[in-house]
């Protein structure tokens, strides 16, 4: 029996718009993943703790507030501190092109903006994220 992919979808920071995150949760469910949805207004510390307690393979962050340059790298840093940097972190939301390089640099594995077809995202995951052995 193959392992199930487990994903946390989280919204760090102060933005309360989670329609996108919910649509993604549904798309991930339909792709056969187990999705832990944590709701809005999360701190990076909460997200890292959840990722570890839930033994996920992937953390999908959504941020529409503009604070991604602090929040996303903070999540990868905290995971690294816990020795959990084998968990892949991807991001989405309103992320201006000029911020991408810094985020990739900080360990964000992929960034998807508004209008990305859902199967582009699940396709990327299927190709790049395996359940951790």
């Amino acid at each position: 029996m193959p392992r199930k992919l487990r994903v946390v979808i989280a919204k760090p920071g102060l933005d309360g718009h989670d329609r996108g995150a919910k649509v993604l949760a549904r798309a991930f469910r339909d792709a056969g993943y187990e999705v832990i949805y944590t709701g809005c207004h999360q701190t990076p510390e909460m997200i890292a703790a959840v990722a570890i307690q839930e033994d996920v393979d992937l953390v999908a962050l959504s941020c529409l507030s503009g604070a991604h340059r602090y929040l996303f790298p903070q999540v990868t840093k905290l995971l690294k501190d816990e020795g959990a940097d084998d968990i892949v972190v991807m991001g989405g939301g309103i992320i201006p092109e000029q911020d991408h390089a810094a985020l990739y640099e900080a360990g964000i594995a992929a960034i998807f903006g508004p209008g990305t077809p859902l199967d582009t995202i699940t396709g990327w995951i299927d190709e790049n994220v395996q359940p951790r052995e």
Binding site: R29, G32, E34, Q53, E54
Partner: protein, 337 residues
């Protein structure tokens, strides 16, 4: 995987969540770790919370975590949600209600998908309880999937079962029915500020009275019915749930004082032995039959009505079970070794 056991005993959450994952995924060799920890289990108070979808189980669980943390007790939570029968995927959303405890090191919340298991739980729940137990969680709350009338597996795993009801789900005959209504050690009538709560309260009370009479019990455990309301008024809600917390502890003391805790454990332990037997007998046999394509061949024979499933099963049994001599009727008996 070998060092997982030691790491868990040392309180490593990452190791514990990994082992739980391995149990869920049915990885081979989990029994090697479980073997290591089993003898040290049996210290936690396991609380089951069950009820219909949307009854408020997660919100109650969240407040119960807070109540137990106030008493400085460490808490483990397993929250089960359903898997899709089509894709196998799942949205595990119970945790949303419990995020305020995310950074509390002495609270370990694990979401689980049912993965097609009937009964309101995931198959991995029983063993995962042991994992949380040796990790040092003094209280373990198991929140079932939203259940109907007969998903009652929680009774095999919990010392104290809380059935959460909400008003407006049917007449008093529903309350009389077998199944869910029989398994409560404590009833919670949630959203009790809604219409019909008083009526539901009376119905549940009369069900309890009847069953107490049936058993002729005096001085035993009287099943409390707690009304919980006003989730929108946090202080009131917390107060009601604190009372629930007291009742839960009272029930645990009752079990201990009356030597009933062993009895509850006994059912659970027997179920575990059953599962282990199934895993080491049925599973390999089924794997064997499937690998050789024999299973499908047998299904073909059955479809053509050339043989019946009972004879086939006995044939397989005689082939695999050396010690037990089975009588197989019909000419096929001689084919088995």
């Amino acid at each position: 995987m070998a060092d997982l056991g030691e790491r868990i005993l040392a309180g490593d959450i990452r190791a514990a969540s990994r082992l739980i994952r391995n149990l869920e995924d049915g990885m081979p060799d989990t029994d090697l770790v479980m073997k290591e920890i089993f003898l040290r289990t049996g210290n936690s108070h396991v609380i089951g919370i069950t009820g219909a979808p949307g009854a408020g189980k997660s919100t109650l669980t969240d407040e119960l975590i807070a109540a137990f943390r106030k008493k400085d007790r460490s808490v483990g939570v397993m929250a089960v949600d359903p898997s899709s029968p089509f894709t196998g995927g799942a949205i595990l959303g119970d945790r949303i209600r419990m995020m305020r405890h995310a950074e509390d090191k002495r609270v370990f919340v694990r979401s689980m998908a049912s993965r097609g298991n009937m009964g309101g739980l995931s198959k991995a729940v029983g063993e995962s309880i042991h994992v949380m137990d040796v990790l040092g969680q003094e209280v373990i709350i198991v929140e079932t999937c939203g259940v109907g009338q007969q998903e009652v597996d929680i009774i095999n795993h919990a010392h104290t079962v809380i059935v959460v009801l909400v008003p407006g789900m049917g007449d008093e005959v529903q309350a009389l029915k077998a199944g869910l209504m029989e398994i409560a050690d404590i009833f919670v009538i949630n959203k009790a500020d809604r219409d019909g709560a008083g009526k539901l309260y009376k119905e549940v009370l009369s069900v309890i009275e009847m069953s107490a009479k049936d058993r002729g019990e005096n001085g035993g455990w009287t099943i409390p019915v707690l009304m919980v309301e006003s989730v929108l008024e946090p202080h009131k809600f917390a107060e009601s749930v604190a009372i629930l917390g007291e009742k839960i502890e009272e029930h645990y003391r009752y079990l201990v004082d009356n030597q009933l805790i062993e009895e509850r454990m006994r059912n659970k332990t027997a179920a575990e032995l059953n599962e282990a037997l199934w895993a080491s007998i049925m599973q390999p046999v089924l794997q064997d039959l499937s690998a050789e394509g024999e299973f499908e061949d047998m299904v073909d024979l059955l479809m053509k009505r050339q043989i019946d499933p009972y004879t086939l099963a006995k044939e397989v049994a005689t082939r695999y079970m050396k010690r037990r001599v089975l009588t197989v009727e019909g000419p096929s008996a001689d084919q088995s070794k």
